[in-house]
Amino acid sequence: MAQTLTNTTLAAVERALNEERDGGAQRTSVMTHVVWAPPAWLEAAERTLAGLSERHPSRTILLTPAPRRKGGLDAVVDVREFAVEGSSRCIASEVVELTLKGARAKAPGSIVTPLLITDLPVFCRWRGEPDWESPELEQLVTLVDRLVVDSSEWKGLPGAYGPLAGLFDRVAFSDIAWTRTEPWRAALAALWPDIRRIERLEVTGPQADALLLAGWLRSRLRRRPELVHRRAKTLRRLAVDGVPVEAPPGEPATASDLLSQQLDVFSRDPVYEAAVTAA
């Protein structure tokens, strides 16, 4: 059962983890998964995380900044057990939810560092648009191996792609919006060689998806097709020079599936980086 700790310390969090692990299930971890989720994003983050720790056994550290509250650290510590298919054994994944109150909201690096699992990769899912100049972003960029964002959660597009590109040499990025376009990119790639002469790309979907698709075509084809964008919550229609592109088969991937895919990626994605730069 989860332990709730109020105004606690990291030592107490570690102790609680040890106590929770006493159930006997084998701890298996492939990474430390840090989630930066401001209060407005907390519910969505928890929804996406549901079931994810089973797919990617890890230590998940959910960080919620609460800078206006009186300084301190609240924690909920849980060890979740999952049966291993075809085996009588269970494995355990650890989930630590931390509320960083007061000044601690600006110092996530020093709070997360002692909790990282040694030698395993560190992924950070950053919910919402980062404050590009903030110390918390700077600290986590220094700390993690891969930062996973979803630029469709941002309001400041395409301007926000500028500071994002400025971080490419410091940390590997994944963008859920970019991942979501992959089936459509495959559909566009199938139009080769005619697409070489594209003049106009029409996209009905989120702005980020549209900008990234256009940036991708610009960077790959070395042309500047006009982008005609119609807003929609999901990416649902593409047309090249007025001709609709056949929609990819199957249902679009869920938010959990998209994040899950990115947690298996380790290297930089130069094609994405070029698309952002050209967006």
């Binding site: 084998q26 298996t28 492939v30 089973e54 797919r55 990617h56 056994p57 999952f82 291993v84 298919e85 075809g86 085996s87 054994r89 494995i91 992959e182 990119r185 495959a186 566009l188 790639a189 080769w192 060689p193 697409i195 991708w216 075509l217 790959r220 084809l221 088969p249 199957g250 994605d269 130069p270 094609v271 994405y272």
Partner: protein, 506 residues
């Protein structure tokens, strides 16, 4: 369409999807088709890994219509597939099913198969590409291969696409018959078109053996005679012969398991690092190991046959009392051996291997036992409790890797106990391990032969087995010589005890 030509393909994680093709299964009404092949095809369909344009023609002697066969396969998928049944997925397969009831030697029947193939080409766009799956007893094999060869270049055969032939084990029953079979095959097909299945090679954990050895810098430097005391490979089953008595009576454990699965596991354990993971690079290294296997003397081999006993608390009959088995049968249901790989890396390092039916439990493991620590300063205190390190690769069940290490027991003094560090494959990668047949059927459709055995491997495997069987002809052991539910005959223990070693504790 290469990425060089099309810059939009760069970075896209396009799944390897085979070209359009028709799969022809000879032996379509058999157990293998229902229990393994169709569940595998369904799993591939769920993951959108089957060709976009695809059809399956079932060929067997059983008189039934396409509709009846399709219904039977649908029931088989519902019972044996690892995914939940989905009508829309099944519909993608069912639309391309055809069944031909015929004797394999019957010209008219083969005409009907050819007609169905042409129909699939026209209706489903399979483009003349063929995968023939030989899920038939060896006796039917030659007839079908000859027939396919004769028709291959004819107009009816439709030779405009590519052809691949998947051959189930057993591949021959001795070296001569395997060579004859190869000659028959190679009269009509090239080696690159023949895919000899050893389904063990399709198992994720067997492939993980290559990852473990060649993707981890810590193992390869100590993977040799200097650091390894010996290797133990166990392929044990708790079940009896079931409905396979007819086949098993003439095969025995040495042909059923030792000649193929066990020797392939030896080859994967002992092989040198391949220069890349292409089919020929991997198979070149495996065949070098098989060629290096020292021809064992009679004392290095043990055979056994189970008598009645208890398995999981249930009384089970002896082999000779099983249905379809000769009451005086001399077929071995257990084989153990001490093998040596005569090369620079492994000289004088024994590989103890054993396989059998009705053993204490089902497991396939490879145990690498390292040399003892040369001078433990706490030897007196540790006593017999201090055991050598063992790297244990669990192929099935509980797929994973364990490392046995010595650790200090908490408290005063220096007491050492052996503990296991476990890596549970399904615990770290929670995607559900694909069945071996999924991987192998897909690879065959893609033309990737890495996980299939090449003719020269099969030849080397039979060369060793023929020597052993020839030696066995000279004596007549007293059978049965082990109780069901145990770890085999006493002579198996003696085989390893003679060297001052013992089989791993279970």
């Amino acid at each position: 369409m290469s990425t060089v030509q099309n810059p939009l393909l760069e970075g896209l994680k396009l799944r390897r999807r085979p070209e359009p093709c028709a799969l022809v299964i000879f032996g379509a009404s058999g157990d293998l088709t229902a229990r393994k092949l169709f569940p595998a095809l369904y799993a591939l369909a769920v993951r959108r890994l089957l060709p976009e344009r695809f059809g399956v023609i079932g060929v067997a002697r059983t008189e039934q219509t396409t509709e009846q066969w399709a219904a039977a396969m649908e029931a088989a998928v519902k019972e044996h597939a690892r995914d939940e049944f989905d009508d829309s997925v099944w519909a993608t397969i069912a639309g391309g099913l055809r069944y031909v009831a015929t004797d394999f030697a019957d010209d008219e029947g083969q005409d009907a198969v050819a007609a169905q193939l042409n129909e699939l080409d026209e209706e489903r766009g399979t483009e003349g590409n063929r995968v023939y799956y030989m899920a038939v007893p060896p006796a039917a094999f030659e007839t079908i291969v000859n027939e396919l060869g004769e028709r291959r270049d004819s107009a009816e055969g439709g030779a405009r696409g590519w052809t691949r032939l998947i051959v189930e084990k057993p591949f021959g029953r001795d070296r001569a018959s395997a060579q004859a079979l190869n000659e028959t095959l190679l009269c009509s097909f090239s080696e690159a078109e023949v895919f000899r299945i050893d389904h063990y090679l399709g198992k994720e954990t067997v492939q993980n053996m290559l990852a473990l050895r060649f993707a981890n810098g810590i193992f390869e430097p100590i993977w040799n005679r200097q650091f390894i005391d010996h290797v133990q490979i166990t392929v044990s089953e708790s079940i009896g012969v079931g409905g396979r008595a007819g086949f098993y009576e003439s095969a025995g454990a040495i042909r059923d398991i030792f000649q193929n699965h066990l020797l392939q596991l030896v080859a994967l354990t002992a092989m040198e690092p391949p220069i890349d993971f292409t089919a020929d690079s991997v198979r070149n290294e495996k065949v070098k190991v098989l060629r290096s296997l020292h021809t064992p003397g009679p004392k290095s081999f043990v055979r056994g046959q189970y008598g009645a006993g208890l398995v999981e608390g249930v009384e089970v009959p002896g082999y000779r009392e099983e249905e379809g088995v000769d009451p005086d049968s001399m077929t071995e249901t257990f084989v153990a051996a001490k093998l040596y790989v005569d090369n620079w890396r492994w000289a004088d390092t024994p590989f103890y291997v054993r396989a059998g039916k009705r053993l204490a439990r089902r497991e396939t493991t490879i145990a690498i036992q390292f040399q003892r620590a040369p001078h433990p300063p706490f030897a007196e205190i540790a006593g017999d409790g201090l055991r050598p390190n063992v790297l244990l690769i669990h192929v099935q069940p509980d797929e994973g890797v364990s490392l046995a290490i010595g650790a200090k027991v908490p408290g005063q003094g220096m007491s050492i106990r052996t503990v296991h560090m476990d890596f549970l494959y399904g615990g770290a990668f929670r995607t559900g391990l694909p069945e071996a047949y999924e991987r192998l059927i897909l690879d065959a459709m893609l033309g990737d032969a890495t996980l299939f055995t090449r003719a020269d491997e099969v030849d080397e495997q039979w060369a060793l087995v023929d020597t052993v069987i020839a030696a066995w002809q000279r004596d007549r052991p007293v059978f049965p010589n082990y109780e069901a539910g145990t770890w085999g005959p006493r002579s198996s223990d003696e085989l390893i005890h003679r060297d001052g070693r013992s089989w791993r504790r279970h």
